[in-house]
């Protein structure tokens, strides 16, 4: 932390890991400069959680090396743990303990004295808006509150590196916004953050560098802007019910820009990538009205992970399924 730019805060080289016959990591390389956010983007089963577990010393890789805050994950796990805050996908809070007790326990285990642990727990409870619920068992908390408590636990020792494994999966929009704000505050204070996510938008909002992984390998990496340039902007889709109007609609959509529209012949649904969002929408609807073409189900939406994968790899997201990732997390 003292010498920014001197060496990466997070670095991994050629990490591989198999669980039985399944290859969870097939040579993952990562790097994050101090004080930046590294986003690891991928579908369920891509190897995100396995990567996180290796980097946070919870899982021994079959091959490869990794350093966190300058400590070798394999040779000096103790050093890594001292410099690391981890907040998992499944908030690992003790349901039988109150929020305050959870944080106090973690603070003491980080080596804080009794009084310091009490003070720090109080600060974090206030900072994460958990003061009112502080003395209630965390088992009674909502999903968002548990995530906040788990995140607070990761920050107890003010670690230089924080790892967040899918911090917003399953949260409502407000919970998501709260988490994003917390991450931004961390980075403003100079913390390096590694964040895994299934949401392109989240990586876009938070990450300085995004690494896209699938099948345990890196398929793309770059800044959000670089990847977006490859993925394209929003998707405009609409359905034309009458068959005669399809050709004309195709022409109109083709004229919008460089992106080619796609047509689902069965449903009559067109999808086209657009770089000018709402403006394009208005213009398109105007053209269609002039041509007396009736449309329904008009949607303008940001690219999904599927769209991104299609654009980046030329292939849709493979059917990894959530079971795969769960296996990776639970495999011992």
């Amino acid at each position: 932390m003292s010498k920014p730019q001197s060496r990466p805060a997070i670095r991994a080289e050629g990490l591989t890991k198999r669980f039985g016959s399944r290859r969870a990591l097939a040579g993952v390389d990562l790097e994050a400069a101090p004080g930046t956010v590294l986003g690891v983007l991928g579908p369920n089963g891509a190897g995100k959680t396995t990567t996180v577990r290796v980097l946070s010393t919870l899982l021994r890789p079959d091959a490869g090396r990794a350093w966190m805050a300058g400590h070798d994950v394999l040779a000096d796990p103790e050093g890594v743990r001292r410099s690391l805050g981890l907040s998992g996908q499944y908030a690992a809070v003790d349901e039988k303990l109150t929020g305050r007790e959870n944080l106090y326990l973690v603070a003491r285990l980080y080596g804080l004295g009794r009084r310091a642990a009490r003070v720090r727990s109080g600060e974090l409870l206030a900072g994460f808006d958990l003061e009112e619920a502080a003395d209630r068992r965390s088992g009674t908390y909502s999903g968002g509150m548990r995530r906040r408590l788990d995140l607070a636990g990761a920050l107890v020792a003010r670690p230089p590196v924080v790892v967040l494994d899918e911090p917003t999966t399953g949260l409502d929009p407000r919970g998501r916004a709260d988490t994003w704000r917390a991450v931004r505050t961390l980075v403003a204070e100079g913390t390096t953050v590694l964040l895994t996510t299934q949401y392109l938008e989240e990586a876009d909002q938070l990450a300085d560098v995004i690494v896209v992984i699938e099948h345990g390998g890196v398929v793309a990496r770059g800044s959000a802007a670089e990847l977006k340039a490859r993925v394209g902007g929003e998707r405009l889709s609409l359905t034309v019910t009458e068959a005669w109007a399809r050709a004309a609609t195709g022409d109109i959509l083709s004229s919008l820009g460089a992106h080619r529209p796609e047509l689902d012949a069965r449903t009559g649904r067109f999808t086209v990538t657009t770089d000018h969002g709402a403006e394009t929408l208005e213009y398109t609807l105007g053209c269609l009205r002039m041509a007396s073409i009736a449309v329904r189900d008009v949607v303008l939406a940001p690219p999904t992970l599927d769209d991104a994968f299609l654009a980046l790899t030329g292939q849709p997201v493979s059917a990894g399924g959530p079971a795969d990732e769960a296996l990776g997390a639970g495999a011992r």
Partner: protein
């Protein structure tokens, strides 16, 4: 020295957390306490009548103590497996503390639980007519020996809990061995009536040695028709029981720690 102090501090923090959990799960605590009480009543009045009556009820308690703390090992297995399942162990392991602290903390909280079990069981024993007939020092030593044995057995539970891949497996694997281990022994009957090989197993069973040593220390003689036998572990019950407890602790703590380090990382 610093490492030892840290292990002591972190283990007691984990034990504190485990005990808070137990206190807030009164159902499981009650279940743990009902079990020995049930065995006392069952053996004292259902089987006891034909096994020697009042004399048997006095004899019985040494076996009950040894059995009760052995059964508590199932708690260790379940507790550890549950913590792994819920990601609590991951959370602990991502913190800078010795791996042993998670296991030792569990063993310490289970030892506390065993102490409570012993107190309740003792009161129950007194109610059915059991008495401490030996010296106060002997009685202290007897309770000390049972707790030493409890500590040893909780490491067996820890190893089972870590080897099990789920709470469900830990639940059944943590229970099945308890019945043969506690019943193929002199905890409740004389080994004299058992067929040859089974008798040898029972005589060398640490549960037998613990029960026998505890009876001697409490001054509880076997009832008529319960020949003690003259096998070495029967004659030298106290030293053999202490030796077994230490050996079990050494072997199973090493096994549990090794397993734990494999599951997580160094």
């Amino acid at each position: 020295m610093k490492a030892a102090r840290r292990l002591a501090r972190d283990s007691s923090l984990i034990a504190w957390r485990n005990l808070l959990n137990l206190r807030r799960t009164p159902g499981s605590v009650v279940a743990a306490l009902v079990q020995p009480v049930m065995f006392v009543l069952l053996l004292a009045y259902v089987f006891g009548g034909s096994l020697g009556g009042a004399g048997y009820r006095t004899f019985l308690m040494g076996g009950i103590f040894a059995q009760a703390v052995t059964f508590n090992a199932a708690f260790t297995a379940l507790g550890l497996a549950g913590d792994m399942d819920k990601g609590i162990v991951d959370r602990f392991r991502s913190l800078p503390m010795p791996p042993m602290a998670v296991l030792l903390g569990r063993a310490l909280s289970d030892l506390t639980m065993s102490t409570v079990t012993l107190a309740v069981t003792s009161v129950c024993g007194l109610l059915v007519g059991w008495r401490i007939a030996g010296s106060a020092a002997g009685a202290l030593l007897a309770y000390g020996l049972i707790l030493l044995f409890a500590f040893a057995m909780s490491w067996v539970g820890a190893a089972i809990g870590l080897l099990a891949r789920s709470v469900e497996v830990a639940q059944s694997a943590g229970l099945v061995w308890l019945f043969p281990v506690t019943f193929v022994s002199s905890a409740f009957v004389s080994t004299d009536s058992m067929p040859g090989p089974l008798r040898t197993v029972a005589e060398w069973n640490p549960v037998s040695a613990t029960a026998t040593a505890v009876r001697q220390l409490f001054g509880n003689p076997p009832p008529g028709g319960f020949p003690a036998g003259d096998a070495w572990p029967v004659v030298h019950a106290l030293p053999y029981a202490v030796f077994c407890a230490c050996l079990i602790t050494a072997v199973f703590s090493a096994l549990a720690l090794r397993r734990f380090r494999r599951i997580t990382l160094g």
